[in-house]
């Protein structure tokens, strides 16, 4: 194939789209692909850029990608960003690869908290912002109202807010022209040593790791070895190319260009998002700034429902991690659940996605323990413990306990302020401020313990605001808190999977909730089973499962014998699948239900 000539940076426009999950980013991107002739109408799969099934079903983009769009003698590189709070680090890297950002907002809903948070990131990165209202074809659209709101937030004139419909295509040509006119062309040193920013890295079964890069200085050539600056490791360069929208190999990528790089590495950890790629023979003296190692914030134990599946679970995690640099895990053993893994995730969505992929792509049936954050426990003697699992909570004289906190931003119609404040106060939140975005929309800022939002905070927020509120949060260090470990005991034996670290004021509530839940979930046994919640040796809640008194079929005559034998054998099989704690048989479903985040008492209160 003839080599694609290097593109003059002056005609390149690199931009991304900042939008909330369902505000129509993918549909708009599809329309851009069509209008620029990159994809023929008949080849058009809805939401072309979202590759994975899960993404397609949930309508969200997990992995960002880049696509090159020719438009009126210019080259537009659309860099797709992840849309969720868990991936905000990846978002910030995508932004670093751009000079401009479309702030895309649903004309019927207005801006959401995560979008606002990402907008602030974009402003910090000095990007040119183009405000765009989408879905103007909807009957419920209120473009004037939300144009006003956007103008207020970014400080422009409401008439500068573009209005489009990704669905019908209305306004998209004007939008493309606006990008060409207003987004600055990239600038860099074409003759310096190569420096390219990795903004995404994907494992492909056939090609190995495909790394997406934006060249800042110099050239990435397929004839030179690539070097990852954070690790110092060099790799053979097998291919460089651009996406349009299928991969097209090129000789090299130069200043301002966006494309991909294949080096044959098999693990995305060797080509991490945020790292700088340079040439092995002409190494850049200094990496681009801002690289961070992804840090797991939320931990949970994952166990196979069938203990025999442990090796399959291990293999599946090994495979997933090829494509997920943020996933960490190590083997762990639970008395109640057997062999499994303690896994660390960026956040709740990340956890859900990993779990779902394990179940779906690897056909595993899993139990996950209640998620928890990382605690720092300082003993009176000065010893320090990092606790990622409640069952590792140290015994003995505890001095201070520290928990991670987050700065949360909530956007909502103003009628729900009371409900939101009540929720946040109940979750040990500290109010930091409140601003009206428009007449009836408000931004509320809280500091909250991370542990308080990883359970069902988001669901609660949604249900108390009839779905209108949106949430964003970012880590904000740690605070000392009055925390205790609550153990759950079955017939006097502690069940490790149910232990939880909670604030002292909420320990009784947790104890009552868990004991009540387990009373419902554990079938009656031949003897009475006390269920207790305890802090150390002190019992804070107690329930009893009464002994079963009748377990016999009244009739067993000639015609019943075969049927009854089969029934008893089946029941024995069922019993074998139960976990036995002391002498108490606990069905798997009881663990699953007891550990599920939607707590019974929360719902019972309303």
């Amino acid at each position: 194939m003839p080599p694609v000539p290097n593109t003059n940076p002056a005609v390149i426009r690199n931009f991304c789209i900042i939008a909330h999950i369902d505000h129509g980013k993918s549909t708009l991107a599809d329309r851009m692909l069509q209008l620029t002739g990159v994809v023929e109408g008949r080849q058009m799969r809805a939401q072309y850029l979202d590759r994975m099934d899960i993404e397609r079903e949930r309508g969200i983009t997990i992995k960002s990608q880049a696509v090159r769009l020719p438009w009126r003698d210019h080259v537009l590189n659309l860099i797709d960003t992840p849309g969720h709070v868990d991936f905000s680090y990846e978002v910030s890297r995508s932004l670093e690869a751009c000079e401009g950002a479309l702030l895309l907002v649903d004309a019927a809903q207005g801006i959401e908290a995560q979008t606002l948070a990402n907008l602030y990131l974009a402003l910090e990165a000095d990007l040119h912002i183009i405000p765009v209202l989408n879905k103007i074809d909807l009957p419920a659209a209120q473009p004037d109202k939300y144009a006003e709101e956007l103008a207020g937030i970014i400080g422009c004139d409401p008439s500068d807010v573009l209005r489009v419909s990704g669905k019908t295509g209305e306004g998209v040509v004007e939008l493309l022209d606006n990008i060409v006119e207003t987004v600055p062309a990239p600038v860099g040193d074409p003759d310096g040593p190569a420096r390219a920013l990795i903004f995404d890295s994907i494992y492909d079964t056939y090609r190995g790791v495909v790394t997406y890069v934006r060249v800042i200085d110099g050239q990435l050539s397929r004839r030179e070895k690539s070097l990852m600056m954070s690790t110092g490791s060099a790799h053979e360069t097998l291919e460089v190319g651009v996406i349009s929208p299928e991969p097209k190999p090129v000789e090299n990528l130069s200043v301002g260009e966006v494309g991909y790089l294949i080096t044959g590495v098999k693990d995305v950890r060797q080509a991490r998002v945020g790292d700088t790629v340079t040439g092995a023979s002409n190494r850049a003296p200094k990496a681009l700034g801002g690289y961070e190692h992804p840090k797991p914030m939320v931990f949970s134990g994952l166990y196979p429902v069938d203990g025999d599946d442990y090796p399959e679970l291990r293999d599946a995690l090994d495979k997933l991690r090829l494509n997920d640099a943020a996933l960490v895990y190590e083997p762990e053993t639970s008395v109640a659940l057997g062999f499994g893994f303690r896994c660390g995730f960026l956040g709740l969505l990340h956890m859900e996605i990993v779990r779902e992929r394990l179940e779906r792509e690897f056909d595993l049936s899993l139990i996950s323990t209640a998620p928890n954050v990382v605690y720092r426990v300082v003993m009176e003697n000065g010893e320090e413990h990092r606790v990622t699992n409640p069952s590792e909570y140290p015994e003995g004289k505890i001095g201070m306990v520290y928990e991670p906190i987050v700065k949360a931003t909530i956007l909502s119609p103003s009628d729900h302020i009371g409900a939101i404040m009540e929720l946040c106060q109940g979750r040990r939140g500290v109010l930091h401020g409140m601003d009206y975005l428009s007449e009836d929309r408000v931004e509320i800022r809280y500091t909250l313990p991370l542990a308080e939002i990883i359970f069902d905070f988001f669901d609660q927020l949604k249900s108390r605001t009839r779905g209108y509120a949106s949430l964003d949060y970012e880590p904000s260090g740690e605070q000392e808190s009055d925390l205790v470990k609550v153990d759950i005991l079955l017939q006097g034996e502690s069940v490790d999977a149910f232990s939880q670290i909670v604030h002292k004021d909420k320990s009784r509530e947790y104890g009552l909730m868990m004991t009540a839940k387990l009373k419902e979930l554990i079938p009656r046994q031949q003897f009475e089973v006390p269920i207790q919640a305890a802090i150390g040796a002190r019992i804070i809640a107690r329930e009893n499962i009464r002994a079963i008194r009748k377990d016999v079929l009244a009739k067993c005559y000639g015609g019943d014998i075969s049927r009854k034998r089969k029934l008893l054998e089946k029941q024995k099989e069922g019993k074998k699948r139960m976990k036995t704690i002391g002498r108490v048989d606990v069905p798997q479903e009881a663990f699953v239900a007891a550990l599920s985040t939607g707590s019974g008492t929360e719902k019972g209160k309303k």
């Binding site: 005559y557 000639g558 075969s562």
Partner: protein, 403 residues
């Protein structure tokens, strides 16, 4: 009584021939006949037995049923060969056997006697619904050779009978016991059901008191089971009736044991009480102690030497099979040693005699059952596993724990 759902199993050869293993020791074990009569006037709401009302019969005739059953008795002789096999027990169940003329039941009994010979002291029982018999009918049965009669009393309370769709009036079953005694029946059983929706502890006590006063020498008392597919199950699902409560069931069972035991009726199987050793139902004991029996009739189950089989369900299909001289068997299973051991534990543990400890592979589990108060310590010392009163109520759990 034959449940309506048939188990899966292996095919049976057209001539009904049994595997060689089934013939081993034939004649050395007690042998009996069960005869199923699959007819009812109406179907009761709780009943999932294999029975048919007139409109459900589709061509199978009540009138010719005795002849069809006799054809199967003859086939039994051909299949079992020439071995000397005196019949110790015959039990006619249903359905409603007494919907057939007494003479029809007598002809089937006669055919069994002719083909196999009845043992001298043979026990010959029929089930009966109180509303279908009178003194003359009972006299006819006695004359035909029946020695024992079992009446479905179920409850002494009208509102309980109404929920069960039983049509007889309270008091009628007790009257039937008197008539049966007068007709010369030595052994009379009354069946009771407890735990019917709407039944109170007092209602149940009234039934127990009535059954004791009636003077039967045998009582069977069954916890109501809401079987899938019955009208009762539908009504419970719709919330029209409360589902039976296991704790209430346990209390009623204890009341039964107290009242019946207090009046000289001793338990000998989980749901059966008898006034004496002789009053026990020998036919049912044959089921529980590994005896051989041939089940005649649609859906009837048989057991010979470790082979169990069961007939096709519908009376029309049953009759046409026999008309072609083909076995009416639908499927069978040949038990292996593990199955037979499991069944022995499952069945013998239900009896007051219990089972020998050498059946159990895990002695520690047996010890624990004794310590937990499920097995009688004295019997254990004597080498037998016998359920305590609490153990009887948890018998299925004990079987699961010990096997």
């Amino acid at each position: 009584m034959v449940p309506s759902t048939l188990p899966d199993g292996d095919p049976v050869p057209r001539d009904g021939a049994l595997p060689d293993s089934a013939h081993d020791g034939l004649g050395g074990r007690p042998f009996g006949f069960y005869v199923h009569v699959p007819f009812c006037v109406t179907r009761c709401g709780y009943c999932d037995f294999n029975t048919y009302t007139a409109t459900e019969l589709r061509g199978a005739s009540r009138d010719s049923y005795a002849d069809t059953a006799i054809a199967e008795v003859r086939m039994a002789r051909r299949v079992l060969g020439d071995v000397v096999l005196p019949v110790r027990t015959v039990f006619v169940g249903g359905g409603t056997p007494t919907l057939l003329p007494a003479a029809d039941l007598g002809r089937v009994l006669e055919a069994i006697g002719k083909e196999f010979g009845l043992a001298e002291d043979a026990e010959v029982t029929t089930e009966s619904n109180p509303e279908t018999v009178d003194p003359a009918y009972l006299a006819g049965l006695r004359e035909a050779g029946f020695t024992r009669v079992s009446f479905g009393m179920q409850s002494a309370r009208e509102h309980v009978l109404a929920v069960l769709d039983r049509t007889h009036t309270p008091g009628r079953p007790q009257q039937c016991v008197t008539w049966a005694r007068e007709a010369g029946f030595e052994h009379v059983n009354l069946d009771l059901i407890y735990g019917t929706p709407g039944e109170s502890d007092a209602d149940w006590q009234a039934s127990l008191d009535a059954v004791v006063a009636a003077g039967a020498d045998h009582v069977s008392a069954y916890a109501l089971i809401v079987e899938d597919g019955t009208r009762l199950a539908t009504r419970v699902r719709r919330g029209e009736l409360a589902p039976p409560d296991d704790d209430a069931m346990a209390d009623r069972y204890l009341a039964a044991e107290r009242t019946l035991g207090g009046h000289g009726l001793g338990w000998y199987e989980i749901s059966n009480w008898a006034a004496s050793e002789e009053a026990r139902c020998r036919h049912n004991l044959l089921y529980w102690t590994g005896g051989d029996w041939w089940g005649v009739g649609p859906g009837a189950h048989s057991h010979v030497g470790g082979t169990r089989w069961w007939n096709v369900k519908h009376p029309a299909a049953y009759a046409s099979r026999l008309a072609e001289e083909a076995t009416p068997a639908y499927a069978r299973e040949v038990l292996d040693d593990a199955d037979r051991r499991f069944e022995r534990i499952m069945l013998e543990l239900r009896l007051a005699e219990g089972c020998p400890l050498d059946l159990f592979e895990d002695p520690s589990a047996v010890c624990r059952a004794v310590a937990d108060g499920l097995l009688v310590p004295e019997a254990y010392e004597a080498g037998r596993a016998v359920l305590t009163l609490r153990g009887r109520l948890l018998a299925d759990a004990v079987v699961r724990d010990l096997t």
